[in-house]
């Protein structure tokens, strides 16, 4: 349940208010050079807060790398938490549109004290796993890049904003993905919807396709098999066609607003809850390296499934 992927797999752990976050990357081919500077750089991209402050996450690899290269053993990493103390502040309060109510229903506690696993903090593990996946993809000339398309306009102090993110995967070979349940874009959609606050995924024309006719939409091919258009976003019948894979992801506003909201406590008593100032106002732009990481994990997994254990030359 805390594992992502089939061959290239990330299993991770850690809670905001515990001592550390960490994870295990299994299935990465032996002999891949790990540029730890690049991995740290990806973490740093995620660390930049909206107010200009930074989280100071430092990644430490403790297994699976020898002499700078993967050796076929599982790659384990740790990232210390700065704030490793349980947070008693909002104990017993059901934070609006947050995980506390569903946690109580599922686990018998709100998870508020530990921060829970659905916290955005967990995404540091995705970024590290994704960075290793990017290094594997880079060796095959595949790149992943996300950007913010728009954010909601905030008119009130302490409010938060939804955001729209686009991502492009370039350099993919044709033939990745399976024609029925394991479609490339089905795995990509699951990867994106697994992100905190994500509420929508579309590929190529996406929702606009619902208002188009076949004569407008179809991607025609030239004699060299290149495509004249890319309405399908690089995936046809669940399989990559060699064009750029283009998709968009919608994020709802961060639920923790620094404004008083009426809610209830564990017993159903009405209380007022105001989030602390430490939260972000918007998923973007910090979510960009996370979106890229998930796209890289999906792609690396399909690449290994299609081609077996790739021989990596450094």
């Amino acid at each position: 349940m805390n594992t992502f992927g089939r061959i290239f797999r990330l299993t991770d752990f850690g809670e905001t208010h515990g001592p550390c976050m960490g994870g295990v990357i299994d299935g990465c081919p032996s002999g891949l050079r790990i540029d730890t500077g690049f991995v740290q750089q990806e973490l740093d991209r995620r660390a930049l807060k909206g107010d200009g402050r930074r989280e100071s996450d430092k990644v430490r690899f403790v297994s699976g790398i020898y002499d700078g290269c993967t050796n076929g053993a599982p790659i384990a990493f740790l990232i210390d938490n700065e704030d490793g103390q349980p947070n008693a502040a909002a104990d017993g309060v059901l934070k609006p549109s947050h995980s506390s109510f569903v946690y109580r229903e599922k686990y018998g506690h709100t998870g508020n004290e530990q921060g829970g696993r659905s916290s955005a903090r967990q995404t540091v593990c995705r970024v590290v796993g994704g960075a290793v996946a990017k290094l594997l993809l880079r060796a095959h000339n595949i790149t992943v890049a996300a950007e913010t398309l728009s954010t909601a306009r905030i008119t009130t102090d302490g409010d938060t904003a939804g955001s729209l993110v686009a991502c492009v995967i370039k350099g993919l070979p044709a033939g990745l993905g399976e024609p029925v349940y394991d479609k490339f874009d089905a795995r990509l959609a699951a990867a994106m919807l697994s992100l905190p606050a994500c509420k929508g995924f579309e590929i190529g024309e996406g929702f606009r396709a619902a208002a188009l006719c076949g004569s407008e939409y179809n991607d025609l091919q030239n004699s060299d098999f290149s495509f004249r258009t890319n309405h399908d976003g690089g995936v046809q019948a669940g399989i990559t066609n060699g064009e750029e894979v283009c998709f968009r992801v919608a994020f709802k506003p961060i639920p923790s607003i620094r404004m008083p909201q009426p809610t209830v406590d564990y017993c159903g008593n009405p209380v007022t809850y105001t989030a602390s100032s430490r939260n972000d106002a918007c998923a973007a732009p910090r979510v960009l390296p996370v979106v890229e990481a998930m796209a890289a994990l999906v792609t690396a997994d399909f690449l290994l499934i299609e081609n077996g254990k790739l021989k990596t030359e450094n």
Copy 2:
């Protein structure tokens, strides 16, 4: 790769131009009464073509049911194909926005002759699997219903249309889904994107959420823990909260248009391709029971994961 689900699992097979379609439903609890009339009725909903004609699919169960009830063995079913002959018609042509090019890249043949596995024909298997899942859900007072929200306007004879479909799951308990990678809505998104021609998925406010502020969006709770609004669409932090699960799915226009389109053959020679009149003009409304089937499969799977092998009373 041709299996969907973890505990409640559908594995299916068959090609349009082979003798039959079929599948195996594994993990269904013993003792569930199988209303075969209902299963056939679901197939009949899918069978109604846009021009009023019907496909005559008849389902036949060959394993796993004894005396009208499941017995814990895998449930197998067969559906004969009417047109079981290989189709040589479009052999060697890369049909625009269709699976033929990516099939050629992946498997070394276009799949045109057999119809391939990404054909809409494969969805009969999903409908049967989904119908059994619905019977399990019905025993827990959970229902699934889809409707067409809109379709593209066709102005030219022989053209095809995109469509937008909405679906609601009612009666779900709170607590289904996992907080990180196996979020309820992540699995739902993968299920929908696995459908032929699907290009987008959104839950609750979906893409509209990207333009909203937290103060507008957050779902507040009453003292009896009921929700005042359902912007989140029944899933928070990947876990159901007991509200209705509401999602929308976008389908591109069917790629087979009855109009001449320029394309190429296997060798890259320019050819003109015009689809035959047997194809549908729009995914909706035939896709509605298929959307419901996939939603039912996802829900049944999570229900069994959360509660173990439910004791079913009939």
Copy 3:
């Protein structure tokens, strides 16, 4: 639960007293020529009864093969049952050392009427799946062969006998298997213990190794890396070393003896049960193609995991 394998996967269904047995082979590479005569021959090897009679199983492929070769779609097959009527004979009796008691505890019925899934009849599906795996292995010059080493001596009319079977896999490359949980021999052991009546598995020296010293046991290597001995049975640290993989499997006597045995019925009332004359007296020799089939399935799966989707030339 009714699926075996990870990449090369067999999912099967059917009960002795239902209309047919069948299965789906998923993950087989596209382009493998399927010699259906060979598959039938393997079934025929299994069909020969101890008393010289034969079961008349005929396999019919209904999906995944086009023009004699696999096309990348799931390969489905059906085998009709001759005796497709429910068997009311022993209804309500707990047959000694049989599945009826544990079935009652698990599913709420004995499975006697349908024959259950733990019946030896189910192994026809394994043989078909294994025959396809053997065809894949043959293309890589890998062979699998089992033989009966010994059987218990029967002194009383109607009694049954335990048996000991040996199997050798030849032509394996070094490097298959994973060093920790997915050891080649761990998967092989699970495959064998999944067979009806199997009570033991050993590889190489097996249980004899427990009484040996390292100076007697260790397999030394020559300058050309060949091994002087093969006490380890071709697997070291869970990974094949290129030597022959040699293992032995112990089967208990078939529990259905044609002699009166005291047992109880569903309600605990003492009854006497005598099995009918249709049962075999010994797992061997009919189990030989089944043992080979499971070994072939395990090997094909590891081969695909190690090498990805092999390009098969015919």
Copy 4:
């Protein structure tokens, strides 16, 4: 590949000569009290060396436990290595009957420097995972206990010995395990064969069953459904029958003998290799808590699959 289990899952990492070993236990129900003293005690049982010395492994939990109980998040643990420096000693030598040759074939290096993943050191992770599983089983009155039955007699200084271990699981409910591929004893066999140096597994009468007749072997039942004998070792048709599960495991002699052995280096040059004095002479008795750990992991997994997420009261 470094994950064991389906619902109750252990994923682990670490190499002998890296900084630490560790793992992630996923799928453990929320609310289970973790007696860390007991977990440490299990590690201490494994730590006692044949010569009376002890390894000083200390386990540290860093995630998934709050206020002494599991909280539903993945449980992560770390164990520091005392000897965290790469070991250049035997670099390039193919140690006889060891992992170095197969590692070279699979990964392109011997793994000697890091100790590899097939090292006995890895079993500390199994012991911690198994100890948590035992705590879950204890809450259901299930116990697991292993003992040494025999060891080979060593006549020469520095030699090593094979050993035979028996294990009993008591208190199991009837009904765990699946009738075809996921038989309880098939999973158990795979678990045992996944242990370093394991060469055989048998349950109940095991290999002796091959020489018995049905009239001698069958386990008859009394009117209260109790069994008069337990030749089957508590598992029939792959499903537990409520009797004690009894199995035996054979271990080959530890391959590292403190005697000169002729072998070759990477290039095939003849060399003599003598193992250092740090290795054990026999898998038993240190392997006993490891055998129990694997049996506990298998049992906990089946228990959760059968009963869903058990509500645990402390």
